[in-house]
């Protein structure tokens, strides 16, 4: 994009403008996403509890309800307790928001539509999302209130524990794909829905559910929302917050819900590839025409957002269905169930990719465009087994490097 802008702008400005466009687009996704998902949460919870939810603000479905809420929050007084550590208290919501905002930088929204094409995108997103807890802990500590401190302590214990099974689950699709590049992982699942990693083998199917449980816990959603348990801790870590700062915590929560759902969509549900290879039938995705490619990407974007929204809706469904767990139950779920199941799925997936390198269901995916990834798959599993070095390491390495050299059309 910067190269394109250089035709019209001086070079120094072109790079800055390109960066700003990316940043602002992601900010729009975060802000608009929060606006929509809070409305959706009200609607979903209403329907589950046999109510209507918001109906009046903005006309038919109450779709302006969140905006009205936002206006109300802006008019509220920005309170600060006398016993608070004021600097940390004021800055904590922004720390949370920054962490979930930064995760979007490496998240591809369609084939090549990504702000920064990172080679280690999966790792980066998992690392950055782990920082969101830092804002929560600062808030809990700096509020100078026992309720907040207890909420933050619970959150810290929970997130630190759930990072272990979450990490193991995320590694499984990476292992099958042989790369941590989210764009490449998405491209490998092109075609019919049975090319998705969810259906790659029974172990990935199990691992997905573990991933989703751990992701729900790591973004602090019910039934794992002990950090804000209303029945015990008033409101947990955000007890002392009001107005805009309070709402920024929720922006962070909702945007990280979207991030983990989008990550699930790419890792397990084929990302921007629909269940049917429609763009390939129409000849859009492999066409040399940039306009056709753009249309294919636009369809991919709709697919991708649909999957991410479905994931978030699923989290809401779970929230309004299951009761909150106790802290020892949360820990037992993580350490006694999620971690062993994830480890079992990981070992199973390693053995499966070793036995059936091309996948079992459809051994020759004949019409898949990216032939180079066909070569890559046996390489990926041989890289997992330590015998890669003993056979011809250079040939393996070459095909591995080839898989990385694809071009984003940003």
């Amino acid at each position: 994009m910067a190269e394109y802008l250089q035709q019209y702008l001086p070079q120094s400005l072109a790079y800055l403008t390109a960066a700003l466009v990316h940043a602002v687009l992601i900010l729009v996704v975060v802000a608009l996403g929060t606006l929509i998902f809070i409305w959706l949460e009200r609607k979903v919870s209403g329907r589950i509890q046999d109510r209507l939810g918001p109906t009046r603000v903005g006309g038919k479905f109450g779709w302006l309800q969140t905006l009205a809420d936002g206006l109300k929050l802006i008019t509220k007084e920005d309170l600060r307790p006398a016993s608070a550590d004021s600097m940390l208290f004021l800055i904590a919501p922004y720390v949370s928001l920054c962490a979930s905002y930064v995760a979007y930088i490496a998240l591809p929204f369609a084939d090549g539509w990504v702000a920064i094409h990172l080679n280690v995108a999966v790792f980066f997103i998992v690392a950055v999302l782990g920082l969101e807890v830092f804002g929560v802990m600062l808030a809990g500590y700096a509020s100078g209130s026992k309720w907040s401190l207890f909420g933050a302590m619970r959150e810290a214990a929970q997130v630190v524990s759930y990072e272990v099974p979450l990490g193991i689950c995320v590694v499984v699709p990476v292992l099958i794909a042989g790369t941590m590049d989210l764009v490449a992982i998405g491209q490998m699942q092109a075609g019919w829905f049975f090319n998705w990693f969810l259906f790659h083998d029974p172990f990935t199917f199990i691992v997905f559910w573990v991933y989703f449980t751990c992701a729900t816990a790591s973004v602090n959603r019910a039934p794992f929302d002990l950090a804000e348990a209303e029945s015990e801790l008033v409101a947990g870590f955000h007890t002392e917050y009001s107005g805009v700062r309070w709402s920024i915590f929720f922006m962070a929560e909702y945007s990280s819900m979207v991030v983990v759902s989008a990550l699930a969509a790419i890792l397990f549900f084929g990302g921007w590839n629909g269940p049917l290879p429609i763009t390939h039938w129409l000849g859009l995705a492999d066409s040399a025409n940039p306009l056709a490619h753009y249309v294919a990407n636009l369809l991919g974007l709709i697919n991708f957002l649909g999957k991410a929204i479905a994931g978030v809706t699923f989290m809401m469904w779970v929230r309004w269905t299951l009761p909150r767990l106790r802290i020892d139950q949360v820990m037992a779920t993580c350490l006694k169930y999620c971690t062993p199941i994830a480890a079992f799925g990981f070992a199973g997936a390693v053995i499966w990719t070793f036995l059936f390198p091309g996948g079992l269901v459809i051994p020759n995916k004949d019409w898949v465009v990216q032939e180079e990834y066909q070569l890559d798959e046996p390489q990926a599993q041989s890289a997992a087994s330590t015998s890669a070095a003993s056979t011809s390491p250079l040939a393996h390495a070459d095909s591995g490097l080839h898989a990385e050299e694809h071009h984003g059309t940003d």
């Binding site: 001086p10 600097m87 094409h117 790792f123 807890v133 890289a383 070095a389 591995g400 050299e405």
Partner: protein, 198 residues
Amino acid sequence: MEPINWHSVFFLLFALVGCGFSVAVLLTSNVVRMAFYLVLALAATSGLFFLAGADFVGAMQIMIYVGGTLVLLIFGVMLTARGPFISMRTPAGEWILGAIIGGSLLVVLLSAATSVRAWRPVAVAEGEARPTATRLGMALLGARVDKLEEPDPTQREGMSGYLLPFEIVSVHLLVVLVGSAYLARPKKRAVGSTAETV
């Protein structure tokens, strides 16, 4: 208009943020504020890694240092705190000791930085991912792929990767995990089943 080298601008920005907050860690006496400044300094360091094109190391910096260590540090501070806001006073002797250690480390690092014969820039087109993780993975499995690009053929010899160190570290970590689980186990079976916290 003079073209601005954004690379240098962001290098200066990250370096200033990193140094500034490192100094702030020294000057504040509130432990949690120290941890917060340390997070910012470490995050700025990871920004420098990303700027240098080492995205794996940068993500590692965030994961291990910024994430893991500091969450544990604050967790420890919160668990062991007696008062609401702990403050630490550093005695003069520790300042001197710290200055000696830090100063000697600075001398070592500066001499290392100035003794590099030639800096090699990484040329990568925009919108393309640098294949850093693949090479690292291959090197850990014993194949130094990066040596293929060495222009000097004599330098390409000795392509024994890091398989042995990798295995040693893995086994070491496993032993540490088993050991910590052993230390943290309940000594006696509790009478009530509700005391079964992990």
